[in-house]
Amino acid sequence: MLNTYVPVLFLIGLAVFFAVFAVGVSHLLGPRRVNPVKASPYECGMITLGPTHQAVPIKYYIIAMLFLVFDLEVVFLYPWAIVFRKLGVFGFVEMMIFVFILLIGFIYVWKKGALEWE
């Protein structure tokens, strides 16, 4: 059944071709008059102070870690949801236990203040 995926590859291929084509053509057609001021970072007329790529707030890192945990949960839930009718009550109770354990973690994270953005 691999050939059900071939049309998907066709569409992705066409999309990639379009993207490269569009950028390439505009690169060829557009004028090129670069000067140092134009090529400097746009900051509403101000000169950029200090480096741009520096340490970012820890908040974003925490969110990324939480995302991993909960997205894994989603990954487990998908196959469960598909066969939910076949599993019946047993499957439901099993998943509720799993969600409950995760919920405890969620409440802990909440109480610790990891979800706060002062």
Partner: protein, 335 residues
């Protein structure tokens, strides 16, 4: 010979979907500006052609002939690749969307979907997540502080709402028992639309979708007023246009998926012949797209901490509760 037919069918379908999508995206930009204009008691674009109908074409030509600027300190490779990732992901979403009932043509049964994958919905979420790379890399590689801030916000916001988005459709999957979008539509035939069984999930999906495609009131990565356009600030010419098109293609895609999952896809109040069933699909998707434009003209932008709090402390528990509730109901009713 069978292979030749298969290839011709595939190429025709792919090119047709691509061409229609590009046309829709182009005129969606015009429609949005027109509708927003009317909401704000002004005309919107009306100079280029009758009723401004040639405006998207003029915009396209202009984008091609503008200077293709790469900032001196930018990471050149990533800077060029980022918009390509965005548009490729947005277009690829349409590979699994079922537009209509199977039709008979030249004695062959042709389904109005590019590929009826058994992992349809997983494919949608996977590809939609890839689109985030375009935004994050685009904001990061330009070496601009506004851009970097937009990228960071986009990354955190989109992964936060992605969890809730994936959870919000779980109820539909429990009822349907399949990830295949064509199958999900077939099960809803004859007024068994999932919105009737999963009304809350539909609302959660719409809210999460708004956040996923960064539209008002969740348009934090762009936030014109504070970030001066955010992640695409350093982009010009066609590279900027690609980001723009990706956003609108993504908008159409989330509306089409909402139609497929909740509104019965091509199923309508009365039956049209299979060759015309796509009209219902287009109508429902159009209504949702209109809703998305409408709310942009209505809501102010939220603050970033409000958005994150809403996503984690409100939507996530509620979508989980929806799953538990759906499961409990189905178990008590004996499935």
């Amino acid at each position: 010979m069978e292979l030749a037919y298969f290839l011709i069918e595939t190429v025709v379908k792919v090119v047709a979907v691509f061409a229609v999508l590009m046309l829709v995206v182009a005129y969606l930009t015009l429609a949005e500006r027109k509708i927003l204009g009317r909401i704000q008691v002004r005309y919107g674009p009306n100079r280029v052609g009758p009723f401004g109908l040639f405006q998207p074409i003029a915009d396209g030509i202009k984008a091609f002939f503008k200077e293709d600027l790469v900032p001196a300190r930018a990471d050149k490779t990533l800077f060029v690749i980022a918009p390509m990732i965005s548009i490729t992901a947005a277009i690829s979403l349409f590979a699994v969307i079922p537009f209509g009932e199977q039709i008979e043509l030249f004695g062959r049964r042709i389904s109005l979907t590019i590929a009826s994958l058994d992992i349809g919905l997983l494919y949608v979420f996977a590809v939609a997540s890839l689109g985030e790379y375009g935004i994050v890399l685009g904001g990061w590689s330009g070496y601009n502080k506004y851009g970097l801030m937009g990228a960071l916000r986009a990354a955190a916001q989109m992964i936060s709402y992605e969890v809730a988005l994936a959870l919000s459709v779980m109820g539909v999957l429990m009822i349907a028992g399949t990830l295949n979008l064509v199958e999900i539509v077939r099960q809803q035939a004859g007024w068994h639309w999932n919105i009737l069984y999963q009304p809350f999930a539909f609302i959660f999906y719409l809210v999460c979708a708004l956040a996923e495609i960064n539209r008002t009131p969740f348009d934090m990565p762009e936030a014109e007023a504070e970030l001066a356009c955010g992640f695409n600030i350093e982009y010009s010419s066609m590279k900027f246009a690609l980001f723009f098109m990706a956003e609108y293609a993504h908008l159409v895609a989330v509306c089409a998926i909402a139609t497929t999952l909740f509104l019965g896809g091509w199923d309508g109040p009365f039956n049209l012949p299979p060759a015309l069933s796509w009209i219902w699909f287009v109508a429902k998707t159009g209504i949702l797209v209109y809703f998305f434009i409408w709310e942009r003209g209505t809501f102010p932008r939220l603050r970033y901490d409000q958005i994150m709090r809403f996503g984690w402390k409100f939507l996530l528990p509620l979508t989980l509760a929806n799953i538990v509730g759906t499961g409990l109901y189905m178990v008590l009713r004996g499935m």
